[in-house]
Subunit: 215 residues, 2 copies
């Protein structure tokens, strides 16, 4: 498989973790989000992913899959072990709900193109832009911490004692939270789960600084 990837892309980071957990080897193809005005906007990449967003996965058969959540579900359906979703429909809905909190309600609002629009079109100053970034993380992390604290299915990881889609979405977002200097004291469960995940090789190998295009 080939992963169109960028070290700091949070959505690509998710897919790296999943590929590593499944033990699937892949070719990393760097699409630099800043250089040359953003290589994701090149005609070649746009032909492959009309949204000009990362990541894209190319299967061994040459099919292209876009949107990280769709890629994660595909990997779980085609390489079922270890499972990234629990067995019962209700448990699966919990994991997908936790994942969705991050993948829908934080990440797209803080994505590079949104930050660029704030700066270039709305002339938002850097400080206010960073406040925006932290605001959406806090909003969702507050709710996520409440759920992790109160819901019985929380274990060593977001759901039970093995990593799921929820952890795969959470850990890249915690990385972003640190990068943008969020205060993390109010999130003991999130911090604990982040620590537990980062002890695993699959997560460790996927962190931005360990990618070939990291600077």
């Amino acid at each position: 498989m080939k992963l169109y990837d960028y070290w700091r892309s949070s959505a690509a980071y998710r897919v790296r973790i999943a590929l590593n957990l499944k033990g699937i080897s892949y070719e990393h193809i760097s699409v630099h989000l800043v250089k040359e005005g953003g290589q994701q906007h090149s005609a070649d990449y746009k032909a492959l992913n009309p949204q000009s967003l990362l990541p894209s996965l190319e299967t061994d058969a040459g099919d292209i899959i876009t949107q990280s959540l769709a890629i994660l579900e595909y990997l779980d359906e085609t390489e079922p072990t270890p499972a990234l979703l629990p067995v019962s429909a209700l448990d699966r809905s919990r994991v997908r709900s936790l994942a969705g909190m991050i993948a829908c309600d934080i990440h797209p609002v803080n994505n590079l193109r949104v930050l660029q629009y704030l700066k270039n079109t709305l002339k938002v100053e850097d400080d206010a832009k960073s406040e925006w970034y932290r605001h959406w993380i806090y909003k969702t992390f507050d709710a996520l911490e409440t759920r992790l604290e109160n819901e019985a299915s929380t274990g060593n990881f977001c759901h039970g004692d093995t990593p799921t889609l929820a952890d795969i979405c959470l850990i890249p977002q915690v990385y972003n939270a640190h990068r943008f200097k969020c205060k993390m004291d109010a999130y003991p469960n999130i911090n604990r789960i982040n620590d537990a995940c980062l002890k695993l090789d699959a997560f460790q190998k996927a962190i931005p600084e360990n990618q070939p295009d990291a600077v």
Copy 2:
């Protein structure tokens, strides 16, 4: 089942369509997003959904499921007929990818709380706020139209000839596009699919104006 719902909530609209397609009757519980400073912020609703977002689904067993994509997948797993996802993993990934384009890359960026932040915190004028709203719709609709035009699996609906998760996400977004006066001429496939869906009772019953709390 009980659906915590609001007529103009785009994410709740998705779930209404799915419930109707599956033939599942449900109790509509209105959570007014504007009245009383937003009923979603009430302590009662927050206890049920710590994100203070719509929708939430309460199952007959009393379990709460949040995040619309998680709810849609749950409904498809527990009431498999008619299926909202195709059979093969690759086809499923295409449908989830199309759905994700809307559910991740348009809707959260244009959500009420984001618009309120633009207005109240960043002091963005109404015109610029409407431009923002349309900008993110155009960005993704451009890419979506390209995919629908070029990909062989597009049929009478986004994927083949029966409605899937992709249509369920698309149609509420087209409703929003009309509401915010987007120019839709460049999107013949999107328009055609919107028309096809709205001919079906399940979609018709779910439209905002047909809800008990519509004004």
